[in-house]
């Protein structure tokens, strides 16, 4: 059955770019913030020097009066997320109340944050900056999960009774919601999986499977080439390594570097694509660098230069939750995303694929549901999507994902995207001002996702993560499942702060304050000097004043 197609109200440009320059730090004399920058976009010499602010001394506190274009979005939704009311007491114990009306309290709260690391605040709120790892869930999603189990729990597709009808309808309705969310042509193009990782493995396994029976399947074979990039998440590297090893195909990759803010598009277009290239798999947005890749240009190039039956897979884990992803406009063959990064439950994700492609692929898992007829000497397979959904599906999780999509649509994915552009830019600019911190990825003023990975010359990312945790700030430290990218950038690990539409300006301010305090503390360990942080907080003590005496 076909679904009513939503009208595209945006330009159908292949990759969504925001078209206005981000607001610059205003001079301290003005209180509004809509002066377009003069220097940031014209400074295009490609090096890492950021354009100096218009007046270095007066803009040091530019951020205090900074106003967003949409300052209410986050505050209006925080109440929907019970977990965001988590607080930590002096002993570090977490408490979280079931009623969550504390969002307005944070507005009036002193935004001084954690200050130094001399003494802890008695009561700290959770500042969650790890949404790129997983997002939080609004109550409507958890309610949907409970409601499924309590009112319509039943296996789908198999029963003729009322409960089964209810659950099947809810499950398939969730499929429709996903299809609509990504502007698929048909609901049959959406396959539910346990996540994006499984979705990629599905494609890799199916294309490299040597299933007998004389059926004509799309396959990658010996002598074919698979092209990925060095900047990919491990889930978009390892399955292809396995596929190449299984089939004898050659795995090639586009190198990454800090100069190119990710994988080098010019290297991609410089000969890595040839007529043996059968599969290209790239990410839409880098989960480390925040780089938004020019998918439209890449797709055009690949279609022109690769084998005529090349397939292009897009890892949209960091884009689908944050911006409109239109699978038809992008022109790719597969899109994968995870539900838990977009306010949905864990254990659910989806693969979107062109219907004709999917129906020409070998099955992934075998079992019930994906068959047409089963005989002891062989079976015939169903068509997509059932073809790739063996066994009892993650019914509750899919329904939860549907509820998450409804929730996001209720706010508006475009509104979310606009807000995150501002918030991400704000984070980027604030981090630029922090001494001793180097942000990886695009420089200030260049479009990026609302996340920043950074390194420090003063403190190791793991230590930073631990000390920020003492202040209630949750960031991620490590290699973020991108070891090759980190090697290419020359860092073993980095720290990452990632935002979602429920993060506020205060979250960023408190984070930066805690970050400065921690850096000051670690500096004092080596040098023993006092450094004054923002707001006059002492962020480090001299060795004379430090009451700390080692026990042994």
């Amino acid at each position: 059955m076909s679904l009513p197609l939503p009208l595209l109200s945006r330009s159908s440009s292949s990759s969504y770019r925001y078209c206005y320059p981000p607001p610059p730090p205003p001079s301290s004399s003005s209180s509004s913030s809509t002066v377009p920058p003069t220097s940031s976009l014209s400074d295009d010499d490609g090096n890492d020097d950021y354009p100096p602010p218009s007046s270095s001394s007066s803009s040091s506190s530019w951020w205090k009066d900074y106003k967003f274009n949409d300052p209410h979005l986050a505050h209006s939704v925080i109440g929907d997320f019970p977990i965001l009311s988590t607080r930590f007491d002096a002993d570090g114990k977490m408490t979280s109340s079931s009623s969550s009306s504390s969002s307005l309290v944070d507005d009036e709260r002193d935004a001084g944050g954690g200050g130094g690391t001399g003494g802890g605040k008695a009561d700290r709120r959770l500042i969650y900056l790890d949404s790129a790892a997983t997002s939080h869930k609004p109550s409507v999603v958890t309610d949907a999960l409970i409601s499924y189990y309590e009112t319509m729990n039943s296996n789908v597709h198999r029963g003729a009774h009322a409960l089964s009808r209810e659950s099947t309808e809810a499950y398939e309705c969730a499929r429709d919601k996903v299809a609509s969310f990504v502007n698929a042509r048909d609901r049959n193009e959406v396959i539910f999986t346990s996540g994006a990782t499984e979705a990629i493995n599905l494609v890799a396994t199916s294309l490299s499977c040597r299933e007998g029976g004389g059926r004509e399947y799309r396959l990658i074979g010996e002598g074919d080439e698979i092209l990925i990039t060095e900047a990919e998440h491990h889930s978009n590297i390892v399955p292809w390594q396995m596929a190449a090893s299984r089939t004898g195909a050659t795995l090639r990759y586009v190198p990454a570097s800090s100069v190119s803010d990710g994988f080098d598009v010019s290297a991609l277009m410089g000969g890595l694509v040839n007529d043996r290239t059968k599969l290209v798999s790239i990410q839409h947005v880098s989960n480390v660098l925040g780089t938004i890749n020019p998918i439209g240009d890449i797709v055009d190039y690949v279609r022109d230069n690769a084998s005529p039956d090349v397939l292009i897979l897009l890892d949209a884990c960091q884009s689908v939750p944050h911006m409109k992803v239109d699978v038809r406009a992008l022109g790719v063959d597969f899109v994968v995303a995870s539900g838990h990064k977009m306010c949905g439950p864990t254990g659910i994700g989806f693969l979107w694929g062109r219907e004709d492609v999917l129906n020409g692929m070998a099955p992934y898992k075998g079992g019930g549901e994906m068959i047409d007829e089963v005989y002891m000497d062989g079976s015939t397979y169903a068509r997509s999507p059932a073809r790739f959904e063996a066994g009892t599906p993650p019914i509750a999780q899919a329904i939860g994902l549907g509820a998450a999509i409804d929730y996001i649509n209720g706010i508006g994915i475009d509104r979310i995207h606009e807000y995150e552009i501002e918030l991400g830019d704000y984070l980027r600019r604030r981090l630029e001002d922090v001494e001793g911190v180097t942000v990886l990825g695009p420089r200030v003023g260049v479009e990026r996702a609302a996340l920043c990975s950074f390194v420090s010359d003063v403190v190791h990312p793991s230590d930073l993560g631990t000390f920020l945790d003492l202040e209630g700030v949750a960031i991620r430290s490590g290699h973020h499942c991108c070891q090759p990218l980190h090697r290419a950038l020359g860092h073993s690990h980095s720290a990452r702060a990632s935002l979602y539409f429920y993060n506020t300006k205060e979250d960023v301010d408190d984070f930066v304050s805690a970050l400065e305090g921690t850096l000051g503390f670690f500096r004092s360990l080596t040098s023993g000097t006092t450094v004054d942080g923002e707001d006059g907080n002492i962020v480090a003590e001299t060795n004379d004043d430090d009451p700390f005496v080692p026990l042994f």
């Binding site: 977490m94 408490t95 001399g118 793991s462 430290s477 026990l551």
Partner: protein, 410 residues
Amino acid sequence: MKAATPFLIAGVPIAGLALQSWSAANAWTHPPANSIVVPRSSSSRPRAVGGSIGDPKSRPRRGMDTWRDGEMTMTTTIATITTTTATAAHSSPPPSSSADDGTTTTTTTTTAASGDDVIDDIDSLCLTPQLRMMTLAFASIPDERTRHKQLLHMASTLPDVDDDVRVSENRVPGCLSRVYVDCTATRRRRIGDGGDGGGYGDDDDDDDDGVWAVEYRGDSDGLLTKGLLALLIRGLNDRTPDEIDAIDPKFIKAARITQSLTPGRNNGFLNMLAVMKKKAREAVERANDEGGGGGRGGGEIDVEGAASATKNTMTTTTTTTTGGPMYGAILAALTKSLKPKSIELVDESHKHAGHAGIKGTGRALLYIVSDAFEGLNLVKRHKLIYALLGDVMPRIHALAIVARSTSEVE
């Protein structure tokens, strides 16, 4: 031994109960009169050596205080343990906490509670004397930041290492920073009695009563990890592989250093300890192969199968080992379970030099005085000892045991 009498609270906060005093071994002072302290059941029962971390049943579950021994199950509704803010009498925060107004918090993590729990049973963790000292010292620091500062200070005391340490064979997996640790073994002689762990001195003479003890070098580019490494190195240096094997990683919870004990490939701390245990064994094996491991005649005690007294750690098969490491294991096993007033294990294997042809013979003399023998006849005492030693010493044919109860020697 604890003087506490265990009692159960069945779901209703009870105010004003008289308190029990804690064992003097832990750092807590007497809690104030209007707080309720719920002690664990008596710890005199022998506990699994070393390996209970890996046992999923033994992990306290978030939000629920479920103790492995099954004696007490508390949900957090019961954890309405009111604590006073008048902590002047305390050298450290009270064992459990909730909001001061007595309301129940529905979801609380029990990090501090389980740490206090572990402190009470610190003797069952088989810690080396240094590790025990540091654990208690850390636990006495009331503020988490100060504990971290102490760790950072320890990081600065770790000596620099040469680049030859930073090789992939020395890498500890699963850490958020790069961690390297290397280990060498030296011949040492045991001094002091086994009751409190004793110590080691130089093994100047060439007789058979020396043991292999190990020393570590290490480095990390993350400072907190380096501090942890420094703590472990200081705690494990100059000990035998058996003593090191016996260490229960739960001490890190007792020390209230925020470290997860969830087993898994990504647990840096557990991996560090595991690597150090493994490297201790390997260092001794290397030393035995290189030095004069054999040629000691009847002085060899054959230990096949589990060379260590612990479960859930890596078992290494050693066909022959000289007296030292296994003696350490024997002492550790008996000390832990029987809490003896005195214990001495004398290797008399040299008296059996002529029996080299019989595999597994060795002779040892065990003198042990413990309250545990009170009321048991001689046969039962020996049976108890052999039962406790089971895995450790499967093949000693001649163990002369002199087992007295405390009252008999007074």
